[in-house]
């Protein structure tokens, strides 16, 4: 029988998507669940930019393809590009808590997408200097990108990547 543990174990990274459009109401439902992520002092430090069709193509076109071929390819191939931002802060401790909260939220999106039969790739890099991209996406001065998510239906079910083993990495006191 399937249980929660096996469901988590079964999730996979998805890089190949079908052309089938992703119904917006499904994503909105996923996001309204995902924002139940933990976040300290209820700062809800996230914001979303939802890009499909032309908007998505323009975003992709603003990226230097030679430098970032993989990112450009997934954005073009996946029917939906969802950018998730985290609030920045001069206080390094607060900034790092807020980034952590947004990562919890993105993990929720990943898990919820999977149970809806959707796959997701989480791209995260150093996007400093991407002026055109930031402008197109409307990302503000006090925000940073925590993930450029490529989302879509997948077929066939992708291979499970090699297991990450933690058993030997737990010291017991």
């Amino acid at each position: 029988m399937m249980n929660m543990i096996s469901l988590f174990r079964e999730t996979r990274a998805v890089r190949d998507f079908t052309d089938e459009p992703v119904p917006r109401h499904i994503i909105m439902n996923i996001l309204d669940d995902a924002v139940w992520a933990p976040n300290h002092r209820f700062r809800e430090p996230w914001r979303f930019i939802y890009a499909e069709g032309d908007g998505k193509q323009k975003l992709a076109a603003s990226i230097d393809w030679k430098q970032h071929p993989r990112l450009v390819n997934t954005i073009i191939q996946a029917p939906l590009c969802l950018i998730v931002t985290a609030k920045m802060n001069n206080d390094e401790h607060i900034a790092s808590e807020d980034f952590a909260a947004v990562c919890c939220l993105i993990q929720n999106i990943q898990l919820l997408s999977w149970v809806h039969g959707l796959g997701m790739t989480w791209n995260l890099g150093d996007y400093r200097g991407w002026t055109e991209f930031m402008k197109l996406a409307g990302i503000q001065e006090n925000e940073r990108i925590a993930g450029i998510l490529s989302i879509g239906f997948f077929a066939p079910v992708p291979e499970k990547a090699a297991l990450i083993e933690l058993y030997e990495k737990v010291e017991v006191w």
């Binding site: 988590f8 439902n29 933990p38 979303f48 919820l112 933690l166 010291e171 006191w173």
Partner: protein
């Protein structure tokens, strides 16, 4: 027929996942009932399977502290880093003692340690994956009656504390999770609707 059953299962699982994500709450007061180390570590292992780090590994390790002696040692280190850095103004020794006792009565602590890569970009990505893994772990723990709180405080980055906790060079503490079975569940604070936090291109 088989196809139909699949769909049924899928709908079922999306309801379960949605409930789990919404119902998980941060827990700050615990039953004193000890936890099964095996269950905790199995769920940690399963959580790691649900994150995808490019390199196929998660550069982190853990210290699981659940014995009386282990918890006493960790708490005395926490109390002394507080005192050393004057993180509280002044605490009568009796209050300090009560605080220490309260923490020690929590069934288990999980110290999460990141092994730092050379490049800043890599470190960020690893940190993101570790946080994602901890969210999966929180959900899987919740699913079997275990609640937790992330504790992140500036003292965790102090060198003296790190050294006393046995960290090596190039390692840092991401958080300490305090955990145990939950008894009372506080009501969650309603989230801002996504419609107010999204723009469409």
């Amino acid at each position: 027929m088989a196809g139909q059953r699949d769909v049924g299962e899928k709908e079922n699982w999306s309801t379960h996942m949605s409930q789990l994500v919404r119902e998980r709450r941060t827990i700050r007061s615990f039953s004193e009932h000890p936890l099964s180390q095996e269950i905790v570590i199995d769920r940690l292992q399963a959580a790691a399977q649900s994150v995808f780090n490019e390199k196929g590994k998660l550069p982190c390790r853990f210290v699981y502290i659940a014995s009386r002696e282990g918890k006493e040692k960790a708490v005395s280190l926490i109390m002394s880093v507080y005192a050393e850095h004057k993180l509280y103004k002044w605490l009568p020794s009796k209050v300090g003692q009560m605080m220490a006792e309260r923490i020690i009565s929590i069934p288990a602590f999980l110290v999460v340690v990141q092994e730092m890569e050379e490049s800043k970009e890599m470190c960020e990505r690893d940190y993101a994956s570790i946080c994602a893994m901890l969210q999966s772990f929180s959900l899987l723990a919740w699913d079997c009656g275990i609640g937790l709180v992330w504790n992140t405080e500036p003292y965790m980055r102090k060198q003296s504390f790190a050294t006393d906790m046995g960290l090596k060079r190039g390692e840092r503490i991401v958080t300490i999770l305090f955990m145990g079975n939950y008894e009372r569940i506080s009501k969650g604070k309603q989230r801002t609707p996504v419609m107010k936090k999204i723009s469409f291109l």
